[in-house]
C-alpha cells in the first residue's frame, strides 16, 4: 500500500524530473557559462508551436456550438410560430381545429383588417389527411413491391441502375412535379381515368361532382409519385439490414422464395418498413407546391375525391402572402404551427422505428 503510493508519487514527479534532466544534462558546460540555459532545439520548437490545449478546446467548443445550433433552429422556429399564432390561439382555443368555417372577410368588415373573421382549420386538416392517405394507399404497395424486387430478386447488374433511377425520382423538385401534373396528369385524369371512376364507382359517393381533373385525387396521385422513392429506399435499407442468416435459415427449411421473404425478411424488418411508411406520410403531409398546383384550392369539405380542396400547406401557399396582419395572419401561422408539430411527431416516430431496425446492423446497410 505504502509502496504503491510511493511509486505513484514517483511517477507523478517523473515528467518534470526528465525535463529538468534534459535541460541540464544535454549541454552542461554551456549551461554553466550562460545563465539561464537555452532550451534544447526540440523544446524551443515545441514551445514555439504553443500549447494546443487552448486551441483544441476552442475548436471543440466551436463545433459543439454549431451542432447545438440545430437545436436552436428548431426551438427558434417553434417560438416564432407560437408568438405569431398567439392571437388566433387565444381567440379560438381548441375550437380552431374543429371548426369548418373559414371566412376571413365576413360581409361588412373592412378589407384590411379582420377582427370578425371566422377561422377553422377542419377543411384543411381533412384534405391533408385524405390526400396523404390516398397517396399512401397508392404508394405503399408499389414501394414495398419495388423494394422486395430490388433487394431479393433483382439480378445484380440491374440493381444499381434501378436504385439510382428511383432515387432520381426523389431529387426532382416539387414544382417540376407540379408542372408535369398540370400539363400531363390533370388532362389524363380528366379525360381517361375519372370518367371510368365515375361510371364504375360513382355509387360510392367518392367519385362525383364536377370532373375538372383538379382535386384531391390528383393531389393523392402526385403525392404518391413523390413519396414513393423515400418509402422504397428506406424499405430497401431496412430489408438489407436483415442478416442473411435469416434468409438462409428459411431457405434451408424448404421455404419458397416468397415464404423466405415473408418469414425471414419482412417479419424482421416490419418495424422499419412501418417507419419508412410513416416517414413518407410525413412528407405527404408537408408537401406544398405540387399539391397547390393540382388540388384546385377551395376551402370546403366534400366527400368526393374529385372535388377541389385545400390542404394545410396549399392554404398557406395561397393565402399567407396576401393575409392582413392581425387575426387572419395569426390564424394562418397557427395552421403552420399545427403542421410543424404534426410533422415533428410523425418524423420522430418514423426515425425511431427505422433506427430500431438499422441500428447495430452489419455493413449490409450500405
Amino acid at each position: 500500500m505504502v509502496k504503491s503510493k510511493f511509486q505513484e508519487e514517483a511517477r507523478l514527479a517523473e515528467p518534470s524530473d526528465i525535463s529538468a534532466q534534459i535541460g541540464t544534462s544535454q549541454e552542461p558546460q554551456e549551461a554553466r557559462q550562460q545563465v539561464p540555459s537555452p532550451p534544447s532545439a526540440i523544446r524551443t520548437f515545441l514551445n514555439g508551436r504553443g500549447n494546443s490545449k487552448g486551441a483544441d478546446s476552442a475548436f471543440r467548443g466551436t463545433m459543439l456550438i454549431c451542432a447545438l445550433s440545430i437545436f436552436a433552429i428548431v426551438i427558434l422556429i417553434a417560438t416564432v410560430l407560437i408568438l405569431r399564432a398567439h392571437l388566433a390561439m387565444s381567440t379560438f382555443g381548441f375550437g380552431f381545429l374543429t371548426s369548418h368555417l373559414w371566412n376571413p372577410h365576413p360581409p361588412g368588415t373592412p378589407q384590411n383588417d379582420s377582427p370578425d373573421g371566422q377561422f377553422g382549420a377542419l377543411p384543411f386538416i381533412y384534405a391533408t389527411l385524405v390526400s396523404s392517405f390516398l397517396s399512401l394507399l397508392i404508394a405503399v404497395p408499389l414501394a414495398v413491391g419495388t423494394a422486395i424486387f430490388l433487394t431479393e430478386m433483382c439480378p445484380g447488374f440491374l440493381r444499381g441502375p434501378l436504385a439510382f433511377l428511383t432515387e432520381l425520382l426523389a431529387a426532382i423538385p416539387s414544382v417540376v412535379y407540379g408542372l408535369w401534373a398540370v400539363f400531363v396528369l390533370i388532362p389524363l385524369l380528366r379525360d381517361k381515368v375519372n370518367p371510368l371512376l365515375i361510371k364504375g364507382l360513382g355509387w360510392t359517393g367518392l367519385f362525383s361532382g364536377n370532373n375538372t381533373g383538379f382535386g384531391m385525387l390528383a393531389a393523392g396521385v402526385i403525392l404518391a409519385i413523390m413519396i414513393l422513392p423515400i418509402i422504397s429506399s428506406l424499405t430497401r435499407e431496412v430489408m438489407s439490414a436483415v442478416p442473411s442468416s435469416q434468409r438462409e435459415a428459411a431457405l434451408a427449411l424448404g421455404a419458397t422464395r416468397w415464404e423466405m421473404i415473408r418469414m425471414g425478411v419482412l417479419r424482421n424488418a416490419r418495424i422499419g418498413i412501418v417507419g419508412a411508411i410513416i416517414l413518407g406520410l410525413g412528407r405527404a403531409i408537408g408537401e406544398t407546391m405540387a399539391v397547390t398546383m393540382v388540388i384546385g384550392n377551395k376551402n370546403i369539405i366534400s366527400p368526393s375525391l374529385l372535388s377541389s380542396a385545400n390542404t394545410m400547406p396549399s392554404l398557406l401557399a395561397n393565402e399567407y402572402g396576401e393575409a392582413d396582419p392581425g387575426l387572419y395572419l395569426s390564424a394562418l401561422v397557427e395552421i403552420g404551427l399545427v403542421l410543424f408539430v404534426v410533422t415533428i411527431i410523425v418524423n420522430a416516430m418514423a426515425r425511431l422505428m427505422v433506427w430500431a431496425v438499422t441500428r447495430g446492423a452489419p455493413d449490409a446497410v450500405r
Binding site: S52, A55, D56, F59, R60, M63, C66, S69, F71, I73, V80, L81, L142, A143, G145, T146, F149, M153, C154, A163, F164, L165, T166, E167, L168, A171, I172, P173, V175, V176, G178, L179, W180, V182, F183, S244, R247, E248, L251, T256, R257, W258, E259, I285, G286, E287, T288, M289, L316, Y320, G336, L339, F340, T343, I344, V346, N347, R351, V365, R366
Partner: protein, 300 residues
C-alpha cells in the same frame, strides 16, 4: 444475395399433400410477378416523365432564355436571366450560412460526439428538422425576418434555404468523416499535431470529396425549393442584386409561369424546369459517383 443461394437442391419427399406444394409455388410465382410489376410501374412512368421533361425543355430552351429578362404578357421571347441570377444569389447566401454550420456540426458528431447522448440528440434533431415541411420553414423565416422588416428580401430567402441545408450537410459530413480510417487520425495525433489541426487538415481533407458532394446534394435540393421562397424572396420581374429587395428565383418563376394561362410562359416554365433538373441530376449523379448509396439516405 439470397437469389444466388441454390434453391434447386433435391428436397426429400414431403409428407404434405401435393396440392399444398403447388399452392406454395403458385404463391411464390404470383408474388414475384407482382414485385416485378410494381417495379415496372414505378420505373416506366419515371422514364416517361423524364423523356417528356427533356423533350419539352429542349424544344423551349434557347440562348435568349439565359440572357433576356421576362417580357410583358403577350410579347414573344424573353428569358429568365433575372431568375437565374436570383437563384445564384439566394444559393450563395444559403451556402454561406448552411455549409459552415452543417460541416462543423458534422465534425462534432463524427470526431467529438460519436455516440454520446448529446450527439445522438443532435442526430435525431437533424433528422427531424429535415422532415419539417419547407413551407413551415418559409413561414417561420418570414415571421422572423420579413414581418419585422416589413418588406420581402433576398436575405430572408437565403436564410430560409440555408437553414434547410444544415441537416443534410451535417448528416452526410458525419457519414463521410466516419469512413476515414482511425489509423489516419492516430497517425496525425502521433506526429504531435494538435487535434484541431488533425481534424481539419487530415481527417476533413481525406474525406473532402465526400463532404463536398454532400454539400452539393444539399445545394441541389434547396435549388429546387419553392415553398420557403414564396414569402421571403417573394420574386421579382426585374434583374436585382440588392439583398434587401425581393428577388426572383428559378423555381418561383416556374411556379408563377406554370399556373399562368399563357402558352409563351408555359414554354419558359418547361425550359426552367429542364435547367433545374439538369443541375440537380448532375449533382446527384456526382454524389453517387463519389460515395455510393449510403450518403443518399438523408432524403430531401
Amino acid at each position: 444475395m439470397a437469389a444466388s443461394t441454390p434453391t434447386n437442391i433435391q428436397r426429400p419427399p414431403l409428407r404434405t399433400s401435393r396440392g399444398n406444394h403447388v399452392r406454395r409455388n403458385m404463391m411464390n410465382i404470383l408474388v414475384s410477378v407482382l414485385a416485378i410489376a410494381a417495379t415496372a410501374l414505378v420505373i416506366l412512368p419515371l422514364i416517361r416523365i423524364f423523356i417528356y421533361l427533356l423533350a419539352k425543355g429542349f424544344s423551349s430552351l434557347s440562348w435568349a432564355f439565359f440572357t433576356q429578362q421576362p417580357k410583358p404578357v403577350g410579347m414573344p421571347g424573353g428569358g429568365m436571366e433575372n431568375s437565374i441570377v436570383g437563384s445564384a444569389i439566394l444559393l450563395l447566401i444559403a451556402s454561406v450560412i448552411g455549409v459552415p454550420i452543417g460541416v462543423s456540426a458534422g465534425i462534432f458528431l463524427a470526431e467529438f460526439g460519436r455516440s454520446s447522448k448529446i450527439a445522438n440528440a443532435v442526430r435525431f434533431t437533424a433528422d427531424v428538422l429535415n422532415g419539417v415541411p419547407s413551407i413551415v420553414m418559409g413561414i417561420a423565416v418570414s415571421a422572423l425576418i420579413v414581418l419585422p422588416q416589413k418588406h420581402f428580401s433576398a436575405f430572408a430567402g437565403g436564410v430560409a434555404l440555408g437553414i434547410m441545408m444544415i441537416p443534410t450537410i451535417t448528416r452526410t459530413t458525419e457519414e463521410m468523416l466516419l469512413l476515414v480510417p482511425s489509423s489516419i487520425r492516430e497517425a496525425a495525433l502521433g506526429l504531435g499535431l494538435p487535434q484541431w489541426r488533425s481534424v481539419l487538415s487530415i481527417t476533413l481533407r481525406s474525406a473532402s470529396a465526400g463532404v463536398v458532394t454532400g454539400c452539393m446534394l444539399a445545394f441541389a435540393r434547396v435549388a429546387g425549393e419553392t415553398a420557403p421562397l414564396l414569402f421571403t424572396a417573394f420574386g421579382s420581374s426585374i434583374l436585382s442584386v440588392d439583398l434587401n429587395q425581393p428577388i426572383s428565383a428559378l423555381p418561383l418563376q416556374i411556379y408563377v409561369y406554370a399556373i399562368s394561362p399563357y402558352d409563351e410562359w408555359h414554354r419558359l416554365a418547361w425550359a426552367g424546369a429542364l435547367v433545374l433538373i439538369v443541375l440537380i441530376v448532375v449533382s446527384v449523379a456526382l454524389v453517387r459517383f463519389f460515395v455510393g448509396r449510403g450518403a443518399l439516405k438523408g432524403n430531401r
